[in-house]
């Protein structure tokens, strides 16, 4: 089976040769550390995925659903180990120069209706010229082949997460109360944009496979936005988008949200968002096994393997692989670590995990080849 056939069969609970073997990626620090244990020098966090023989579950089509044109990215201030940068979203952040991490917001252009109308709304029109990538026609021609090997993923925007990023948590939280009509207008503008792009992309005769949305709207205690506000402002608009997708034959709609998502999952399902990624286990113990018990086959899942288990040792890794295996076997679930592999995971442990994943979930069938290192470290592993 191709990556696409296997992924679609998995997410539709249909027969397949094996489960997809995927990853979320690696911290650059992790890859560098692993080099002292034998990982080839030429690898980085972008190329390690292929080196480890991973299947693909996503394939972005290059449609730009965010700000277009983006803001110019510029360094505002160099502070030695850190720097203040204005990013492509217009947000000023303080970030580490030499360490991969989530930056701190230090300034926002989006503060009120005026700045919305001046800086952001004009960058959220579907007609802007940068929305579709160059050579779109040639790409589309290739993608029309029903036998194409890779999954094609349409972008589905972000109804809260982007606004939260553009304004900051405090400002968007206050806006919901101080000017709800404006908050609603921002959400509606993004929804209109996403729907228009979906329609246009699908008008070229390609059967796209999935749609990926992004929110990151939860923290360890639960959602950043109250459930009533979620239901009032977001849910109907998710539904507009997912209805549109289903009309175009796209029935796998995944949403990327970190943090404790437990209370939002039923609402997303109600809104037609049927797949969650990457199921951050966190200190709150999110668990694909429990989700399957609670939501049955209505909820598709990507991720959910506790990355911290990888730092603990062989026995713990095997226990976790075994614990997840029944859900993997049932389908509707592609397991992988719930974020990038952190530097406290020894390469030998990661190899142990991969060996087990390829054996138990991959059944040793038609797996992608790995580098020589694999054979040296894992012996007779598949």
């Amino acid at each position: 089976m191709t990556d696409r056939e296997r992924f679609l069969a998995t997410m539709h609970f249909q027969p397949r040769d094996r489960a997809p073997i995927c990853d979320f990626g690696f911290w650059s620090e992790t890859v560098e550390l692993w080099k002292s244990d034998g990982l080839p020098e030429h690898l980085d966090e972008n190329t390690a995925t292929d080196f480890f023989g991973m299947d693909r579950f996503e394939g972005w089509v290059g449609v730009v659903d965010g700000l277009d044109p983006a803001f110019e990215s510029v360094v505002i201030e160099d502070r030695g180990q850190t720097e203040v940068v204005q990013g492509s979203d217009g947000v000023r952040v303080l970030r580490h120069k030499f360490m991969g991490s989530i930056p701190q917001h230090v300034g926002h252009l989006l503060t009120d209706r005026e700045s919305w109308n001046k800086h952001y709304k004009p960058r959220l029109t579907p007609e802007s010229p940068g929305r579709f990538p160059g050579a779109w026609e040639q790409r589309v021609k290739r993608w029309r082949n029903p036998q194409r090997p890779n999954v094609l993923t349409l972008p589905g925007g972000s109804l809260y997460g982007w606004i939260r990023n553009w304004m900051g948590v405090e400002a968007v939280s206050l806006a919901v109360y101080d000017d709800p009509a404006w908050f609603e207008e921002m959400v509606e503008t993004i929804t209109d944009l996403v729907c228009a792009l979906i329609d246009k992309a699908c008008s070229f005769g390609v059967q796209f496979d999935t749609c990926g949305m992004w929110e990151d709207m939860c923290y360890s205690g639960g959602p950043l936005l109250g459930l009533e506000h979620f239901k009032k402002y977001l849910l109907p608009r998710y539904r507009r988008i997912t209805d549109r997708l289903r009309n175009h034959g796209i029935d796998i709609v995944w949403l990327d949200c970190d943090g404790n998502i437990e209370r939002l999952v039923p609402l997303w399902l109600d809104a037609g968002v049927n797949c969650i990624f990457p199921i951050e286990v966190g200190t709150w113990g999110a668990d694909p096994v429990a989700y399957r018990r609670e939501f049955g086959r209505d909820l598709l899942m990507l991720g959910g393997f506790d990355k911290h288990v990888l730092a603990r040792g062989k026995q713990e890794i095997e226990q976790e692989v075994d614990r997840l295996t029944p859900v993997v076997e049932e389908g509707g679930y592609v397991p992988f670590c719930d974020h990038r592999i952190p530097p406290d995971v020894p390469l030998a442990n990661y190899m142990e995990y991969l060996c087990l994943a390829r054996e138990r979930w991959g059944r040793g069938v038609d797996l992608k080849p790995m580098g020589k290192l694999w054979h040296a470290m894992a012996g007779a592993a598949p």
Partner: protein, 208 residues
């Protein structure tokens, strides 16, 4: 509902104009400032309770805190004139290497809402800066926040520095990757799973 209960209710609803109006009305009417303060703090406590019960979320905490802050701006001169100051001081910051501040800001806000004097050191704060600030301000509480697993060792280091400095302040830790077990293991006095619980814990520690 009596006027002070109405004030509490205005804070709970995050109705800042009404809260300020009622605060001014109470001041003009000669209510003891301590009672007005207690009504405001009661509002924040109610929101904190609701937050812990998952009936209120971050926006509701923020609008309540704003109503409290604006009311306090009216009340503060009167409190100062009568020598009523926060009984306890808390120093708070995100540990070294960590640039995240949302959780830390929420805790600081809730502590202020409980009428603690809060010294916010910001993010990426070195262990010695926590120690020095706690000494300078005579802190009763030190709050340490971390979002990243990679900065948890810095939290351990900070607790160690605080202990080595012999400070009497109680250390409360929190953040997405932090657990009660980790808090115990690094010698912190308490773990706060969320901002509202952070108030309960701080009160308990300073009254112990």
């Amino acid at each position: 509902m009596n006027p002070l209960e109405s004030l509490t209710d205005a804070v709970v609803r995050g109705d800042r104009r009404e809260a300020v109006r009622l605060t001014s009305e109470q001041i003009d009417g000669g209510s003891p400032p301590k009672e007005i303060l207690a009504a405001l703090v009661a509002g924040m406590d109610t929101v904190g309770d609701r937050f812990q019960r998952n009936e209120a979320f971050v926006p509701e905490m923020l609008i309540a805190a704003r109503a409290m802050t604006e009311s306090m701006a009216v009340l503060e001169p009167l409190l100062a004139a009568q020598g009523i100051r926060p009984e306890h001081t808390a120093v708070i910051g995100t540990v070294q290497g960590d640039l995240h501040d949302i959780g830390k800001n929420l805790v600081a806000m809730m502590w202020r809402g409980a009428h603690f004097n809060v010294v916010d050191l910001g993010t990426n704060v070195a262990a010695e800066d926590f120690v020095n600030a706690a000494k300078d301000h005579g802190a009763d509480i030190i709050g340490l926040s971390a979002l990243l697993t990679t900065t948890m060792p810095a939290m351990r280091q900070t607790v160690q520095s605080i202990r080595e400095a012999g400070l009497h302040a109680k250390v409360i830790v929190g953040g997405a990757p932090i657990t009660a077990e980790f808090a115990d293991s690094i010698g912190a006095d308490a773990f706060a799973p969320d901002a509202a619980t952070g108030v309960d814990i701080a009160r308990k520690l300073v009254s112990a």
